[in-house]
């Protein structure tokens, strides 16, 4: 079943997109996403992928083109990062509001300035309220697997929302890892051609994107909220179907030694693997620690998070992006909200780490856990938001 290959994160995403039989790709290159688009343009040019590749003049145009293509009933893909995402911001809301099941790879990169091409989660978290389903990858294998699943989630009639898959810039995008690719036919069977119930069709004209003021706008937003709630179920269903063809398990979150953990570290992306390695070694020292990593950033899996963390004594949340002036980072706020209704809440603290590609090291993670044990001993949180790894 499948074949074992060495691929960089970007290459793995491109392969998954090729196998997913997309119809239209419109993108503008930006580091560290470039390789995805380069590979896809090669596949199209070589005839390995029968799709329209539309080179555009900006990310704003890229996503606009995707919206138009998606409305014709096509399966559509784009990819971007950081400033590219910022430029397409306007259209991200239009894509979701017009219910276009576009799939976009976000290769996480820090927002300028200063100019930086390395990993922060700025771009993904900037889209947290854009009514997109956001899947986060922890390894090259997950970037591949998430891409294939993203199309199925997005195109489900109960969802019909754009879906992003995030992978950490350079740390995953330019890291070669061993992955298992599915056979082309297996993916084709998992993802038959998209069947759009409503589409732009000259034979059967309908109208997309009209005006809706205070008479109807509100109702359309309520529909999107419903689609997001449905997505929570659909993500789990798709994961189950994907397990049948791949043998790999996915959920909304990933739990590691959380059952009896005193201190649980919560994070997203490539740092999760490092955290698990550290947690394992701390367990050998008798320290009860665990890791909860979030795979589904939106819709936020509140129940799953609450159930996992309710017995912890302290919860540390890593945000790989800063939110100046907020209570804490975006993931921290979600976690705190999820825990708020518990009769007895764990102590919570936020860690801002790894900005602009700064390495999140095993030593830093040990430090994050140790702070938790110190807070438990004192019975209170001293610093709510800590910046670790900054000089």
């Amino acid at each position: 079943m499948g074949k074992v290959v060495g691929l960089m994160g970007d290459e793995a995403v491109a392969q998954a997109v090729r196998q997913s039989n997309v119809d239209v790709i419109a993108a503008y290159p930006i580091t560290p996403q470039t390789i995805i688009v380069e590979r896809l343009s090669e596949y199209v040019a070589n005839g390995e992928l029968d799709a329209a590749f539309v080179p555009v003049e900006s990310e704003h145009s890229a996503l606009s083109c995707c919206v138009g293509a998606s409305l014709t009933g096509a399966r559509v893909f784009t990819a971007s990062a950081a400033n590219g995402i910022a430029l397409m911001f306007e259209i991200t809301f239009i894509a979701s509001s017009m219910r276009c099941p576009i799939v976009m790879a976000i290769v996480n990169r820090a927002f300028s300035a200063p100019i930086n091409i390395h990993c922060s989660h700025d771009d993904t978290v900037a889209l947290r309220d854009a009514s997109w389903v956001h899947l986060i990858s922890e390894s090259v294998q997950e970037a591949y697997d998430n891409t294939v699943q993203a199309f199925k989630i997005a195109e489900d009639p109960r969802v019909l929302l754009p879906t992003s898959i995030s992978l950490d810039g350079f740390i995953l995008s330019h890291c070669l890892e061993r992955i298992e690719m599915l056979d082309d036919e297996v993916v084709s069977e998992f993802l038959p051609p998209r069947k759009a119930e409503y589409k732009l069709d000259p034979e059967k004209p309908i109208t997309f994107g009209p005006l809706a003021l205070y008479d109807y706008y509100f109702e359309f937003k309520r529909q999107q909220e419903e689609a997001m709630r449905n997505a929570l179920t659909v993500v789990k269903e798709v994961a189950k179907k994907y397990e049948e063809i791949s043998g790999r398990k996915y959920g909304t979150i990933k739990k590691f030694m959380t059952d009896d953990a005193d201190v649980v570290l919560v994070c997203m992306g490539s740092a999760a693997g490092t955290a698990r390695v550290v947690a394992k070694s701390l367990r050998k020292e008798g320290k009860k620690v665990g890791v909860l990593s979030v795979r589904l950033f939106r819709p936020f899996p509140t129940e799953d998070v609450r159930e996992t963390l309710e017995n912890a004594k302290a919860v540390a949340v890593i945000d790989r992006s800063s939110a100046p002036g907020c209570v804490g980072g975006p993931l921290f706020e979600d976690i705190c909200t999820a825990l708020y209704d518990l009769p007895e809440r764990p102590l919570t603290y936020n860690i801002i780490a790894g900005l602009g590609g700064r390495d999140i090291t095993p030593d830093q993670i040990k430090q994050m856990y140790n702070i938790g044990f110190k807070y438990i001993e004192k019975g209170k949180v001293e610093d709510k938001v800590l910046w670790i790894g900054v000089r």
Partner: protein
């Protein structure tokens, strides 16, 4: 009666094509065009240039105005080479 979110198509889609004819958009004119058919030479300039289009063209190329959709812009009156169309204030008659 306005409908609830479960009763309407998603994403603001309008599934019925050409339903704009159901909405008479000609009720807010200040001035309306009136044709003096004795001056009309059936050149069809008004029919060509009406932005709505609210000029009704008959088989013999004579024209009438569809007041359900005419918004009173006055282009027809301006363009008519025989000055067969005049703009008169609404609500007069």
């Amino acid at each position: 009666m306005l409908k609830g979110w479960k009763e309407i198509p998603i994403g603001g889609m309008i599934l019925e094509p050409g339903n704009s004819v159901n909405f008479k958009t000609g009720d807010w004119r200040a001035m309306k065009p009136v044709i003096d058919k004795s001056k009309c030479v059936k050149c069809l300039m008004c029919w060509t240039l009406c932005p709505e289009p609210a000029i009704i063209r008959h088989d013999d190329n004579s024209v009438d105005i569809n007041y359900d959709f005419c918004k009173g812009c006055g282009i027809c009156a301006k363009i008519c080479p025989r000055k067969a169309i005049t703009m008169v204030p609404e609500g007069g008659e």
